[in-house]
């Protein structure tokens, strides 16, 4: 990955000095990854872009921006005042799914990271019994796919669920009124159930991202603050929080982009039409591949820009947990 003029390429291929040989080693070590990334990611993504401008759903033919035009018109149409003025008669369905993804992902992120801070703090600062076991148990849901997280919510909050039945019993109502899964899409109960499903996946991830940050917190400064008379909350606010802030920003960025990409949980619970759920409808129901590709391209560009700009222009640190 040295500068790519012909002379240095030649010397990389036929090395003369130890420095050239090192360059060749770096190139050789990088080749397998670059090959996988090229054929596994770059070529398919380029093809996806091509399909998104195709006039046919079944082959890459012609060139049209119709899918993008429909997509952005629909997103504009969803805007409160501007939409009515600019594009009055456009169906704002894509605006709805994008907005749903954004607010739902943001809410999940805020709550998950708040829990993550609490849990990482507790694990780091207190001597808990069976701490190793607790950490292992907390990490368990990270390995579960979204569909299993959804099933966990059915176990807890479904019409046959344990908590919903217990709640219905205590409140003396029918279980259907308190169940959070199996409800019609878009109802408050269903959305709350989905929210718990998102939290189930995201709280452990946020916690483990923040644990890495907490491991680097300077305990001496906290002890000094406490001995100078600051209470636990003041110490946290003025001493601990400034130290973990880069880690929190990093956790927010990664949790948000992961929450946006959640798919299995929504597919099982069918509670809210988010962008990833829309993909399923475009492909399985309508087979509108250009539209699905256009939506995927915009989604991908957004998460990529968000992740890289976020990590580049904030003090975010992504620590290895």
């Amino acid at each position: 990955m040295s500068t790519l003029d012909s002379e240095s390429l030649r010397r990389t291929a036929v090395p003369e000095t130890e420095r050239d040989r090192e360059r060749r080693r770096i190139a050789l070590l990088s080749v397998p990854f670059l090959a996988l990334a090229t054929f596994g990611a770059f070529v398919p993504l380029a093809q996806m872009l091509r399909i998104s401008t195709s006039q046919s759903s079944f082959a890459a033919e012609g060139f049209t921006l119709a899918a993008y035009r429909e997509l952005f018109a629909s997103m504009v149409a969803y805007l409160p005042v501007v939409g009515d003025v600019l594009v009055a008669d456009v169906n704002p369905v894509y605006g709805v799914v994008v907005w749903n993804s954004l607010w739902f992902g943001a809410l999940t992120t805020v709550v998950s990271v708040a829990f993550g801070v609490c849990l990482a703090h507790t694990l780091e600062k207190y001597d808990l019994p069976f701490e190793g076991t607790i950490v292992t148990l907390l990490s368990f849901p990270i390995s579960l796919p979204g569909i299993v997280a959804a099933f966990m919510m059915i176990v807890l909050f479904g019409t046959t669920g344990v908590l919903s039945n217990a709640l219905a019993f205590l409140a003396g109502t029918e279980v259907d009124t308190v169940a959070l899964t199996g409800q019609p899409s878009g109802t408050t109960n269903a959305v709350v159930g989905l929210f718990f499903g998102y939290l189930y996946s995201m709280i452990p991830r946020a916690t483990f991202l923040l644990r890495g940050t907490y491991a680097e917190v300077n305990g001496d400064a906290e002890a000094a603050a406490r001995s100078l008379g600051a209470g636990p909350l003041e110490t946290f606010w003025h001493v601990t929080l400034p130290q973990i802030r880069p880690g929190i920003v990093g956790a927010v960025i990664l949790t948000f982009r992961t929450a946006l990409a959640i798919f299995g949980t929504v597919l099982v619970l069918k509670a809210l039409s988010v962008v990833t759920f829309r993909f399923d409808q475009e492909i399985q129901v309508g087979f509108d591949l250009p539209m699905a590709s256009a939506l995927a391209a915009v989604f991908f560009a957004f998460t990529l820009a968000f992740t890289f700009l976020g990590l580049r222009f904030t003090s975010a640190e992504v620590s290895e947990a």
């Binding site: 080693r25 176990v155 046959t160 209470g231 003025h238 993909f279």
Partner: protein
């Protein structure tokens, strides 16, 4: 959160500054007449006094509630799979293994196609036919093939970015360790790119690409704990060629990271759903799709048994990981 951290963005936060400077600007009141100035106020607000008494209890309570929320349903699912029925708060009926047998496809059911696909093997000489869960084996093999590619790709790149300093290293590192493409996007991108590729091959490529960050992170942490330059130079000075040094000295020393990375990648690939759901078209079904069909179509108990199969796999794998010194699936954190 984004507006005022810019001031401490550069370098390590200077810890010593916080107590004095920030407390003064944030907390003008409640010092009960004690001298104000550069020294932080000694007496605390109501909330803070509250936190002295209840802070720890509150945080431990949050931990307990979270643990119950995360692990409770796992245990309930496992228990439910052994009961004949579960309506309401507690299981009822007698204990049975029928749901497990149905989920594993070991007995004939009405919805047998939703079982784990079976091979019926005739045991020679006895006339007995033994049913084996074939699809789960197939799925495990797919994940294993993905791990194979992960190893070929992940170990070299982890070494390159850890050992050498070169132009573009940071970018390469970021691309290798950040999960760049979400599974569902990659699935859509695969649909028309390789239309003639068998589902199995497409799944293996996808698994390896999606799980590479976990492998790179795990192997990198092993490499980082080694004196790479010294090891390399010692081996070279004793006469080993560079490829031999790499393969017989450096890689074996990173064994721990390689083993834990492989275990993590394998488990995550075995249950990868988003990509598999979009890409799968024909041939034996991946395990995650089997789980999905059970969850969305089958009776609760059989779905519970199907999900429990995966729980058992993860529990086994977690035990293996702990034997290698990792604590569960902590490496990387985000898929």
């Amino acid at each position: 959160m984004t507006d005022d951290h810019a001031s401490d963005a550069d370098g390590e936060p200077a810890v010593d500054d916080y107590g004095a400077a920030e407390t003064e600007s944030h907390d003008p009141a409640t010092d009960g007449g004690v001298t104000r100035g550069d020294v932080p106020s000694a007496s605390n607000g109501l909330l803070d006094r509250f936190s002295v008494v209840f802070g720890r209890r509150f945080l431990v309570g949050v931990l307990a509630v979270t643990l119950v929320f995360l692990i409770g349903p796992v245990l309930l699912t496992f228990v439910a799979s052994f009961f004949q029925s579960w309506t309401g708060i507690a299981p009822s009926g007698s204990l049975t293994l029928i749901h497990w047998e149905q989920a594993l496809g070991l007995v004939e059911t009405v919805g047998a196609s939703r079982g784990l696909g079976t091979w019926v093997v005739d045991v020679p000489g006895t006339g007995l036919a033994v049913r084996l869960p074939a699809s789960i084996a197939f799925s495990m093999l797919l994940a294993l093939a993905g791990v194979g590619i992960n190893l070929l790709v992940g170990i070299p790149i982890a070494y390159a970015v850890t050992r050498y300093d070169f132009y573009g290293r940071d970018l390469l590192n970021a691309v290798a360790v950040l999960p760049i493409v979400p599974g569902i996007i990659l699935g859509i991108a695969f649909l028309r790119t390789y239309p003639n590729l068998p589902s199995a091959a497409a799944l293996v490529i996808g698994y390896s690409l999606l799980k590479t960050p976990y492998m790179v992170l795990a192997v990198q942490s092993s490499f980082e704990s080694m004196e790479l330059r010294q090891l390399e130079e010692s081996a070279r000075s004793l006469g080993a060629s560079w490829p031999r040094t790499f393969l017989t000295v450096l890689v074996p020393n990173a064994k721990r990271g390689i083993v834990s990375g492989s275990i993590i990648c394998w488990t995550l690939a075995a249950a990868e759903f988003n990509f598999s759901y979009i890409v799968y078209s024909r041939g034996p079904k991946p395990f995650s799709l089997f789980l999905f069909e059970n969850i969305s179509n089958n009776p609760f108990q059989r779905a519970a048994a199907a999900v429990s199969i995966y729980f058992l796999i993860v529990a086994l794998v977690t035990a293996l990981l702990r034997a290698t010194g990792e604590r569960g699936f902590s490496t990387g954190g985000v898929r």
